[in-house]
Point group: C2
Chain length 313, copies 2
């Protein structure tokens, strides 16, 4: 049995704070249709794909609430679910989750080709701060607006039609944390999917790394962690300038050797597609990264016993 | 105070099984002098630098013993220590360690500019097998000839003259294991040093990855783990063809952004030098990889609770 699945990354250009939901949905459906037209069976959308990256703003509660989804799906996103099911295409999408109990998470779901939600993930590695930085126009308030993900890193099986890959989800900053990848690797992950919104520069005008350096860091993280866990990886950006704040593109599809097999060329709406042989994960998992044969957890205890760094005496 | 240290990677070309120790020492001293002549204060030599990569052979005990160092230093390596001290240059060197109790390890030491041993490391991630693979000319018997390192990943301070960096040592295969890097990262490492002997192809003639792909994997591992732990990293290869078995080159010096600042051009004896600003680690440690602010160890337990992969149910 060939375990070949054709996967798309649907990079999205910027979504402005004032953009209406139907216009965003129309763009996402257009990307979905473009991906399906190129044979994709599964499409990866960005983090917080339905809205602008609102944690950059200190918002009053009414506007803030408007960025959250009280259920998934819900009427404001239903057209995407309907079109995907009609096409028989599954997808990953990031969104701001408001639970019935009033909890808020930066979440993502994977939806099967039949429209059923296969799994949910809540972002563990929230960057930014709780309190706004005084005097700055642009903030990064993820630690204010979201609780830390409480579901861990739960691997799950993708659809039978995709070859039933062991899958894992990450969101944005998570992709830079090898612990997150390894916890999935220890569940045999074959397909890691993630969306992101990553600043291209300091929007407040401070000295900072170049956009090119930031794309390099993003891609390097995905490549190396894919290699070290012998998994396919798909990373989809929201890119371009949102209300004066730039986001990197750099969406990519990476094979289990860490090789980029498809990469975004621009910073707008753009679909990348690759046919992914899930069995290409086997060589790494059975040889170089045969965890059972080679890992030595007795020497890894600091990874859970410590949070921050502790210098040698 | 500027914390600038000038560091060399001393890549070594092949050492044949029949090569006599004085000839190897003479090459190492020539590399040391070349590095010192280019201003290096610290030189990184390869894994098992004094000998051929002998774990490729199933050896009788007498020949095997000849590859091990019963003490460090000892008369057979003393000229390197003497020349380094005379030049005021420190070094990392890998060697096969035989303890007074008869234990055998794949070890490395860091020697200060005064000739004193600052720290020892014993390789944790031993690749290969205990039993020889029947019918094959070339073996990988590290798991037979060495015990697993029993010192963990102990960070230590480099010399005052180098800016007193927090240092960590790895050996070869360790560099592909993010757990090893993170345990050092959690001790605030600023300078990771490592030597390696990595096969360029399957010497028994099987289908395998190309030498170029293997250099890519090596460099990718060093770049990403340096970035994700905000540390300088220096990796020195033994390279070229040893008695019919090829080893990759690809020695490199990588900055805390994961950028290669110096890379070997060939597969022979070759010195790379870079001036390393230790304070360039600070941005990563204080922002993106501020561990105290962003790590969530409560979700990392599988990393120590499991050795091998366990598939989801």
């Amino acid at each position: 049995m060939t375990r070949l699945v054709r996967i798309a990354a649907a990079q999205m250009g910027p979504t402005q704070r004032a953009d209406a939901r139907p216009a965003v949905l129309a763009r996402m459906i257009a990307l979905l249709e473009q991906a399906a037209g190129r044979g994709a069976e599964f499409v990866v959308f960005p983090e917080l794909a339905f809205t602008t990256f609102f944690p950059r703003w200190l918002l009053d509660p009414a506007e803030l609430d408007g960025f959250f989804e009280p259920a998934m799906p819900n009427p404001a996103v239903q057209p995407l679910f309907d079109r995907a099911r009609a096409l028989g295409v599954g997808f990953y999408v990031g969104y701001a989750e408001l639970t019935a109990e009033g909890q808020r998470f930066n979440s993502a779901i994977t939806v099967g080709p039949d429209g059923a939600i296969l799994a949910k993930y809540r972002k563990v590695h929230l960057p930014g701060s709780v309190e706004p930085r005084p005097g700055e126009r642009f903030q990064q308030l993820e630690k204010r607006y979201f609780e830390y993900g409480d579901l861990g890193f739960p691997a799950f099986y993708g659809a039978e039609g995709w070859g039933r890959p062991v899958m894992g989800m990450l969101i944005c900053n998570d992709r830079r944390w090898p612990e997150a990848w390894r916890v999935y690797g220890l569940q045999g992950v074959e397909l890691m999917v993630m969306g992101y919104n990553s600043a291209a520069y300091d929007p407040n005008g401070g000295n900072s790394e170049s956009p090119a350096r930031r794309v390099f860091h993003s891609t390097l993280s995905v490549q190396a962690n894919a290699y070290m866990n012998a998994t396919w990886a798909v990373a989809a950006a929201k890119a371009g300038v949102e209300d004066g704040a730039g986001l990197i593109g750099g969406s990519c599809i990476v094979d289990p050797n860490g090789v980029v097999v498809a990469a975004a060329q621009g910073e707008g709406d753009e679909v990348l597609v690759a046919s992914c042989d899930l069995d290409a994960c086997r060589q790494g998992k059975e040889k170089m990264f045969n965890f059972a044969a080679h890992r030595r957890p007795e020497h890894y205890r600091r990874i859970i016993d410590q949070v921050g760094a502790e210098l040698p005496r």
